[in-house]
Symmetry: C2
Subunit: 369 residues, 2 copies
């Protein structure tokens, strides 16, 4: 039997707009790109998406479920994104809200290479929630950033990642920064017996990205930070397959997909799609911070990263965007221990970053017990 | 003197929101990601964006101009996107409306490898507007698609591109499709003495993309179709530099950046940024077609693709998304001859596609004279 890719949309109609036509047009626009009449006349509807159900939700909003033959994707992530939202991103009133994945496609895409269990093992933290921070700001030298990294590692931060804006700026070129920070973290680990990990930001153009990931692996890093919407989403699976490194995904440039009545739901893009593509951990901005996600959205992202999904490993929600040292307990109670807390600015504001980090780790351990 | 990257935003404020704080926060969020107070105290403001001017436009809308040190980009396209809209894509009421490019950065990014003059030469059409069409629909076999390609080439279509949804589906795997279509177009050219070009869609994951571009070059194709938001925007420059092929860029997945009061203006993303990254031609959906661009936006995209921009070549606007065979004359009068008209469905609806294409070419030639 032919496998189906089932996609659910919320459709928001303008006055006078036919929801039946809007739903049917999605199935054509995203596949054969021809009018229904012409395609039917020529017997060209084979790969078109078909509306299976169409229900009224409220006001001018409807839920449409479309079936696409899995062959229309051809096992490729870029074509999956194309089919999900490529052309209709240019239309109004369409939100992709759910995907029912063909099992074959999940196997082809592969998901996290390490997952929750793998990241916990790498950090030597089998049970408690993990603590992450970001090296910043751009403008510091490699020695200065390494000094900050050392401070965090002495405090026991599990994952010390580059700020996603650290690239190859003259103040701290990638290679010098990588070597200085990784050595600083390893030296601190040797002092404390801890196992802090440094994840450099390898986001870059094709060839440069490849060199940076290779340098990170050579330097002994266990993982890297990537911005998938900048490098192409398939880069996640490529780093997983070619280098075996763990991957923390950053949501840079994704916010445009989360607009009112338009886009791909955050839990789908930052949760399910990033996980399916190969993210072991996915960063998102917490409710109540500098960005606008709701509590429901945050919980939904957590669920989509952790819940069973065919043969794929579970991934770790990484809660950032303004989480403060003072309220980590609250968020831990709410989100549970299969979570990474990414605390940046609020840690920097503490005088002694090592002591502040150590206190947070104790809080995560204590609450776990 | 330090070079500046100058970015203009339109800011839309909620009641009670301070536009001064909103503008200042952009300069911090997109660079150092720390609070102003902390960064000032530690002397960490060096790479932060600074608000140069802030003007009231109308209602709750303001124009902010920020200066960033060019070093914050470090000459990398991925970091440029990051700085332009990475994190603030997750905030409300921010539109990037203009970029004043540092000349060094333009040189680093390079722009079109062929440009308008190069594409005209490849098509042997020194003066008139160019005609493009798309091979479709997905679901046809390589032989069937090649038959369609032959029909278009016999009619003299300048560029016959794959539909952007043609990837590696079982009905027409990439390699078989490439070979069949390229041979069909070359054979038709040999019959007519014409110079139709076939641009296969090479959009795919990293390694696969590389193989597909190499196969296209080997097969004698002069250009390819790419969806930059699926492959990473830097792929444009990579194809230009590694293979020397001409590149037509497709706007798949870009529509989310063009939302009301949010995003990157279409003329900036599909015009200036795609051109700067290396597109020789940039497809966009015309006003009055299936998508919602205004006449002003369409004209602005044309301008940004063609106007002088440092040392960069000019690129060709490629007008699609529902342009019909019956109104090409109207659009030609409006847009001028440095334009590619992309006509798909409306050509397929003609009985004899060769005759219909030939008629369009005559119209483009006639109107030019």
């Amino acid at each position: 039997m032919t496998e189906q890719l089932t996609v659910t949309y919320h459709l928001h109609c303008q006055p006078g707009e036919s929801v039946e036509a809007k739903a049917r047009d999605i199935g054509l626009e995203q596949t054969i790109e021809l009018s229904y009449e012409l395609a039917r006349e020529r017997d060209w509807l084979g790969y078109a998406g078909r509306v299976e159900t169409l229900d009224h939700l409220y006001g001018d909003t409807y839920r449409a479920v479309l079936h696409y033959p899995a062959e229309a994707v051809g096992g490729e992530l870029s074509q999956l994104l194309n089919l999900l939202f490529g052309n209709i991103s240019l239309k109004d009133g369409i939100e992709v809200t759910a995907i029912d994945w063909p099992r074959t496609l999940l196997r082809q895409l592969g998901g996290p290479g390490h997952g929750i269990a793998g990241l916990r093992q790498a950090c030597n933290a089998p049970d408690r929630a993990l603590l992450c921070t970001a090296l910043k700001p751009m403008g510091l030298s490699p020695a200065e950033l390494a000094d900050v990294a050392r401070g965090f590692a002495l405090g026991g931060v599990d994952i010390i990642k580059d700020d996603h804006g650290l690239a190859n700026q003259p103040a701290a070129p990638f290679r010098e920064r990588l070597e200085a920070c990784q050595q600083a973290v390893q030296a601190a680990n040797a002092e404390t017996g801890g196992r802090s990990l440094y994840f450099p930001n390898v986001t870059a153009s094709r060839g440069t990205l490849e060199r940076r990931v290779a340098l990170a692996a050579e330097a002994g890093c266990r993982g890297v930070l990537l911005c998938p919407m900048l490098t192409g989403l398939d880069t996640l699976g490529w780093v997983r397959d070619e280098f075996g490194l763990a991957i923390m995904a950053h949501p840079s440039l994704t916010g445009s997909y989360f607009r009112p009545e338009h886009g791909i739901r955050p839990e789908l893009l930052l949760g399910e799609i990033f996980r399916t593509a190969g993210a072991d951990a996915s960063i998102y901005p917490n409710v109540g911070g500098r960005f606008g996600f709701t509590a429901t959205t945050c919980q939904a992202i957590n669920d989509r990263l952790r819940a069973p999904l065919g043969p794929l490993r579970a991934a770790l929600p990484t809660i950032g965007g303004g989480v403060s040292v003072t309220d980590i307990g609250h968020w831990l109670d709410r989100y549970g221990s299969d979570t990474i807390f990414l605390i940046g600015g609020s840690l920097y504001a503490q005088g002694d970053i090592s002591a502040a980090a150590a206190k947070l780790i104790r809080e995560l351990e204590h609450r776990h017990v």
